[in-house]
Amino acid sequence: MAVELSFSKEIANMMYATHGNPITNCLQCGTCSGTCPAAEFMDHTPRVMIGMIGADLKDEVLASNTYWTCASCYHCTVRCPAGIDIADMMYALKRYSMWKSRYKEDLIGPDFSEGFVKMIVNSGKSFEPILATTYLPKFSASQLVQEALTATGLVLKGKMPLLPKKIKRLKNFQRMVKRIIPLGGSS
């Protein structure tokens, strides 16, 4: 008979796959929250987020913007006295929320990540202007204008090429990707 895993175990399993990350050792000391440069924009600070996972508050975690507001700066990770890689945990939460297709509305992060991966699977390389089209619909009109201005500024500065490159052995590359994601879920 299948035993259902608790939410905290599910999250732990998403990291133990490649290298251990002892999130259950959290001391709730708050060093991570005090360090985090993005904390003021998060619904829950990193310390609270870890506490919520420990308490199996799955719905609350999935409704939080916290991990999508993490910039992966790893400052919390190098300071945590319990040796927890908090930045890696934030990635695991992003994956979990993508996998379940459940995230707070109005977030750009999930579409951005998905668009980015699609672009790379299609060409082997990343290219900012093409990438832009994958997330622009979510921007408000004023942001669109700002974005266009920024992009133009970049073009004027000669910083953007007009055509994306592709890698040469793209077919091999795509078959390689299929061996990792057999259903082609991301392509």
């Binding site: 440069p37 910039a71 400052h75 990540s113 790379i120 990343s126 910083k159």
Partner: protein, 289 residues
């Protein structure tokens, strides 16, 4: 001449062409032979990990495998995000045979194999460790006298490495700047995050993070901010206008790659370094170039 497997990364072909130009010029002047690996792919920056962890490692591993095939021992990346991805993927492959087996199964499709046996290094480390401060000093025939430079380390050049000499208060960037005759300034935000891809996914948060950095450098009377990463450079340079719009500030400060400043000191013409406007010390009459 020492040879390196060079991985430029996507940004150096688009947004950061000036970093690519200045890297090549400086390497040549310092007798470092950067051999670009063939048919490399995007390392994913920070965008693969939210989607699939194994895919993220595999895509980075393909580049490592291509580099291993060359027989060179050192893998060099000028972008901090590329560096961090390669450094950790290499380390995990070396210590986790199951991960390596899984990834090698996928790499077979491109006739590649990876062992995780490279020394993965950031360009600035290669320059500091393999060329050394003394030699840089000797070759800097046009020292950047009086130029106040804010060394900006950012995040992934240092973290999450815990073995690094001093992750919280590193000094190597300052030493490099002193060696080329510039004046490195002390300011507390040198390793604070620039917001990275939040500039796209959470603009308000990233602009605030950029604002704090610009303010700190400008309050300390920096003439220029020096970076080691395309993402940091773009966030700090291109988004200054938006910071000003958002916060009513009037910040205007040049942001340059450390290789561009080095190139100036090595007396390489600005044009070949992708420099459109040379920074000048505010405190004194500009030195004619």
């Amino acid at each position: 001449m020492k040879q390196y497997a060079y991985y430029p990364g996507c940004s150096l072909e688009s947004l950061a062409k000036d970093y690519q130009l200045s890297t090549k010029e400086v390497a040549r002047a310092l007798d470092l032979e950067l051999k670009e690996i063939e048919d490399w792919n995007c390392c994913g920056a920070t965008a693969y990990f939210p989607v699939d962890e194994m895919l993220a490692y595999t895509l980075v591993a393909r580049n490592l495998a291509i580099a291993e095939k060359t027989g060179l021992t050192d893998f060099v990346a000028p972008c901090s995000a590329c560096f961090k991805n390669a450094y950790y993927t290499n380390a995990y492959l070396k210590k986790d045979p199951d991960l390596a087996e899984h990834i090698n199964f996928a790499l077979e499709e491109d006739h590649l194999h990876v062992d995780g046996k490279l020394n993965v290094r950031h360009l600035i480390e290669v320059i500091l460790e393999d060329v050394g401060l003394e030699e840089i000093k000797t070759k800097a025939v046009h020292p950047l006298k009086g130029l106040r430079v804010a060394p900006y380390y950012g995040c992934q050049l240092l973290r999450p490495r815990k073995d690094h000499e001093n992750v919280e208060n590193p000094r190597f960037f300052e030493e490099l700047l002193s060696a080329i005759g510039a004046e490195p300034l002390e300011y507390s935000s040198k390793a604070r995050c620039c917001g990275a891809s939040l500039i796209i996914t959470n603009r308000r948060a990233a602009l605030e993070m950029v604002r704090i950095l610009l303010k700190d450098a400008i309050d300390h009377e920096a003439d220029v901010i020096a970076t080691t990463c395309p993402m940091c450079n773009v966030n700090l340079e291109v988004y200054q206008n938006q910071v000003n719009q958002e916060f009513g500030t009037q910040y205007s400060i040049p942001v340059m790659y450390f290789t561009q400043l080095m190139g100036m000191a090595l007396n390489i013409p600005s044009r070949r370094l992708g420099i459109t406007k040379e920074p000048v010390p505010k405190a004194q009459v500009p030195v004619p170039s």
